[in-house]
């Protein structure tokens, strides 16, 4: 039978933490990427390392959206749910669209597991799944049978059942098998029995699809028409890490990362730790304060200094960031936002640290804020944050979130040679003449254009100077308690940051220039807004959208842009933080569309909200 052609499909793999669902999803994604689909993924881990097997708390899921068109989100609801046990079915069934397909490992639906999942009756036997097309596959048994001859112990045999599921889905969606088989060989190199078991299970799953009369036919999702070039599938944290490394290369500076592990930012520390040969040094500090402190020390030493963390870490770093504002040294603070307040929902996404990024320090301490908008865009956002920090000698906050961090998408690799250099010069010369005509160095004598002060690093003969957090005299940098000087310095620091508006791209309106409704977004809502706006427009409404990558300062034309529209909607994964800024800066009645659930907006939610605006 010929496979049926689909435009796109959203598959959700769900199972116990021990079932290897992240790996399964990842492999399916890779194969699809290789095959040429556009795609977007969303892993959904449990908060516990390993919650008790079979419990709801232990469910780990991975959603992947593959498409023959360009897409921008992992999809609202799944077309297919693969449920490896009752807990997975119970916790994730609501992610499956009505009418969707549910593929179930029926072996797992025995009494103890049902009980652990809190099912009072077996959902395979009552009407729980009435709205769905259900395929019950005894995956555990079939896997065990398939590997029986290999001499694998039953326990280990069972472990391969995720490869059975992967094989089955690979058949169903006509995914190429080679990338997965190759990967198994590499990954488990040296463990021949494991390789054999996994390969056999995979093939068994594939064969099962083909031969069992269960399935009418397979599907294909054609490759997407993507721009030509080399692609890789990348998640936000890796892209961000590589962006930091790239900024080091582009500026010719060594990169120093001082950080402390915290979900969902730790992977950046891990990734950067792997690349000393690319001029990266990392320190796992004793806490977040030492993380940012050590970075500031390295910045004083002339390095491209970075600290990576999440909300609780930024809350601790405030005082040191304030020092960086006062010292006017370049420093990038990366905040991978997660659910708050306090420990909140550490493994879930949220975008509720914008106000803290603006104001989380005492005194008047303005700082630029850059926000990433998609997993691969994290690469460029990181470079941009570094560029601003280095050029203006200022700490910069780079905001990403848990969804971008772990979500992935295909990325057309940029031509490295075409990435613009970050020109940066350490001061080496005197820049002033004292009353007696002798040359001297003034650490706070500014570039008239950028208002940046010179960056003279230790080791430079003659330019010895002292910096500190007490208010400094303009120019000399000497301690000054003079009232007028303080006012002046506060103003200069503000002007320096405000002036960056001249150096960033203007806000670009996409969609209908004559629309009634403008949707202003920032951060990871980019994908959902893109889908929602295009859907609303395709229904004949006029809508425009602006997506901000710079949140402080705003693009210079933003006020003007906002003034062109009657209604301004601001979807945010918080209680309305950007809308608060737009309202106070531009006195426009920006309306926040808020969601604080630890999960991203779906396009359909946004679509509904935008359409609502037309009914108001």
């Amino acid at each position: 039978m010929e496979p049926v052609d689909l435009d796109r499909v959203i598959i959700r793999f769900a199972g116990d933490s021990g079932d290897g669902m992240q790996l399964t999803g990842d492999r399916f994604t890779s194969a699809s990427a290789m095959f040429g689909n556009d795609l977007s993924t969303l892993p959904d881990f449990p908060a516990e390392i390993r919650a008790p097997a079979g419990t709801l708390a232990g469910v780990s899921a991975f959603q992947v959206h593959i498409s023959a068109q360009e897409i921008s989100t992992p999809g609202d609801q799944a077309d297919v749910l693969v449920a490896m046990n009752p807990a997975a079915l119970k916790s994730d069934l609501h992610h499956l669209r009505s009418g969707g397909t549910c593929i179930i490992n029926s072996d797992a639906f025995e009494e103890r597991n049902l009980e652990k999942a809190g099912y009072e009756s077996n959902p395979l036997e009552d009407d729980t799944l009435a709205d769905f097309t259900v395929y019950q596959v005894p995956m555990t048994m079939l896997t065990k049978e398939s590997v029986a001859d290999l001499g694998v112990k039953p326990r280990d045999a069972e472990r391969s059942k995720n490869f059975f599921a992967l094989g089955l889905l690979s058949w169903m969606y006509s995914r190429p098998a080679e990338p997965t088989l190759d990967w198994i060989g590499e990954k488990f190199a040296g463990k021949e029995k494991v390789i054999a078991a996994n390969v056999t299970a995979f093939k068994a799953g594939h064969a099962f699809g083909e031969t069992a009369e269960l399935f009418d036919h397979a599907y294909t999702v054609k490759p997407a028409e993507l721009a030509g070039g080399t692609y890789t599938n990348i998640n936000g944290n890796t892209a961000l890490s590589w962006g930091l490394i790239a900024a080091g290369q582009l500026s010719g500076l060594e990169v120093f990362l001082g950080g402390y592990p915290i979900t969902p930012a730790s992977d950046i520390l891990h990734e950067l730790s792997k690349h000393p040969q690319l001029g990266v040094r990392t320190l796992q500090a004793e806490d977040e304060i030492a993380g940012v402190g050590s970075a500031l020390g390295a910045a004083f030493g002339g390095h491209l200094a970075v600290t990576t963390t999440s909300g609780p870490g930024v809350a601790l770093k405030g005082e040191t960031i304030g020092l960086a504002v006062s010292l006017e040294l370049p420093l990038v603070i990366v905040d991978i936002q997660r659910g708050g307040p306090s420990t909140g929902l550490p493994t879930k996404t949220e975008a509720s640290d914008l106000m803290m990024a603006m104001h989380g320090r005492h005194g008047e301490s303005p700082m630029p804020i850059v926000a990433a908008s998609s997993p691969s865009q994290c690469f460029f956002a990181a470079i941009e944050a570094c560029r601003i920090a280095l050029k203006y000698r200022t700490p910069v906050i780079l905001l990403s979130d848990g969804y971008l961090a772990n979500g992935s998408e295909p990325w057309l690799l940029p031509d490295v040679a075409s990435l613009p250099e970050i020109e940066i010069e350490h001061a080496t010369e005197f820049n002033h003449t004292d009353a007696d005509g002798n040359p001297e160095f003034w650490p706070y004598l500014r570039d008239p254009e950028t208002l940046a002060r010179p960056w003279a690093v230790p080791g430079t003969p003659g330019l010895m100077h002292r910096v500190g957090g007490i208010e400094k005299e303009d120019g000399t940098g000497n301690i000054s308690y003079d009232p007028a000087n303080h006012q002046k310095m506060v103003q200069i620091r503000q002007d320096k940051i405000d002036g960056i508006a001249k150096d960033i791209p203007p806000a670009e309106v996409e969609g209908d220039a004559d629309a009634d409704v403008l949707v202003v977004g920032w951060g990871s809502t980019w994908g959902a807004i893109t889908d929602a706006v295009s859907s609303v427009r395709s229904q004949g409404h006029k809508v425009a959208r602006v997506h901000l990558h710079h949140l402080n300062p705003f693009p210079a034309n933003l006020g003007e842009v906002l003034g062109q529209f009657d209604r301004v909607l601001v979807p945010e994964m918080n209680m309305g933080q950007l809308s608060r800024m737009l309202r106070s800066d531009f006195l426009v009645d920006a309306k926040a569309i808020t969601k604080v659930m630890g999960i991203p907006f779906t396009s359909s939610e946004l679509e509904a909200e935008i359409k609502e605006a037309f009914n108001d």
Partner: protein, 334 residues
């Protein structure tokens, strides 16, 4: 990055800035500043390769007076900031300055971790057993019963012994000196400088405004010989106003005691700053309960162990950006 040619000859003046020194008249900090400024010319190091980093406090004003690179940072964080600088720039001499509040109260964690890691830092702890800059609250080194603005009925908590704490934190170099003896300070600072890794020097420093005379019992000229036990590596530990009429000996149970040594040095403890096991240095740190009994000064411990450095190169991994970007699974679209 730095010039490694022999340093030009310098004098104290070269190491001094034109900034007015703003400690109270009579403050012990003056003597420490002088000692540092007078020692540095002897080390044959360059000013531009030297950095002083401090926190906040009276002591922490120090960098402003040093004609080197410097940073007056925030309260307690100097060891952390200096750690970053030392790791980024191993070519520099990094000195860290702080008071007992700065290093041991708010900054205690950064200090013990810098010591544990053995970051290449020279850490000078100005211990005046009081908060000077905030006008006289007790500190984690203040003696029990201390009456201050924040302890009007007398403090009840046991102070840290900075030397013991540092040894418990795996410090590879720990020494003690005091603000009344410039020569001793200079020698001790020079030793700290020569030590690879983290070197902590506790300096008994008089705050004549808020805690005057805290160390007088032992530092006063007249008392000094009787009350200070100079530690000299490889030598029996003796002291006394007549030179060596008293000494330190070890009891059967391993604890130390002060004994009569008029009969000679037999049976006295021979100081071994290089002993791998920190037990001896620790025992010496407990000899005096506070600066009112005969107190050891000098180098308690100086051992070599690996200096902490982040990995700066490896044979594995990607050497250029392009190969990094394509290090995952890639595919081509025509």
């Amino acid at each position: 990055m730095t010039d490694t040619a022999p340093a030009p000859e310098t004098t104290r003046k070269d190491w001094s800035t034109d900034q007015e020194v703003r400690w109270c008249p009579g403050c012990g900090d003056y003597g420490i500043l002088a000692a540092v400024q007078m020692m540095l010319p002897d080390l044959g190091v360059r000013r531009e390769n030297t950095v002083f980093i401090s926190g906040i406090g009276c002591a922490a004003r120090f960098p402003y007076y040093m004609n080197t690179y410097g940073m007056h940072s925030i309260h307690g964080r100097a060891p952390a900031i200096a750690t970053g600088l030392a790791l980024a720039r191993p070519d520099l001499d990094v000195w860290v300055i702080g008071g007992d509040g700065d290093f041991l109260s708010i900054g205690g964690n950064h200090l013990i971790h810098a010591l544990r890691r053995n970051v290449n830092l020279n850490l000078l702890l100005f211990n005046n057993q009081i908060y000077g800059l905030t006008k006289g609250q007790y500190s984690p080194t203040s003696e029990v019963g201390k009456i201050t603005k924040s302890t009007p009925f007398g403090s009840v908590d046991q102070p840290f012994n900075p030397v013991s704490l540092a040894l418990g934190a795996e410090a590879s170099f720990v020494a003690r000196t005091h603000d009344m003896d410039r020569k001793h300070m200079q020698a001790t600072f020079a030793r700290a400088h020569a030590h690879p890794g983290a070197a902590l020097v506790e300096i008994y420093q008089n705050c004549n405004v808020f805690n005057d005379g805290a160390f007088e019992t032992i530092t006063k000229k007249a008392n000094r010989d009787d009350m200070m036990i100079n530690l000299t590596h490889g030598e029996p530990i003796v002291f006394g106003s007549e030179g060596s009429e008293r000494g330190v000996a070890m009891k059967n149970d391993g604890s130390l005691e002060i004994v009569d040594a008029t009969g000679g040095t037999d049976g006295l403890l021979v100081h071994d700053e290089a002993r791998t096991d920190p037990g001896l240095a620790f025992a010496l740190s407990r000899l005096a309960a506070g600066p009112s009994e005969p107190t050891p000064v000098g180098v308690f411990r100086a051992i070599e162990r690996p200096v902490y450095m982040p990995v700066t190169g490896s044979s594995s991994g990607h050497n250029d950006l392009a190969s990094l970007l394509s290090s995952g699974a890639t595919w081509e679209v025509e």
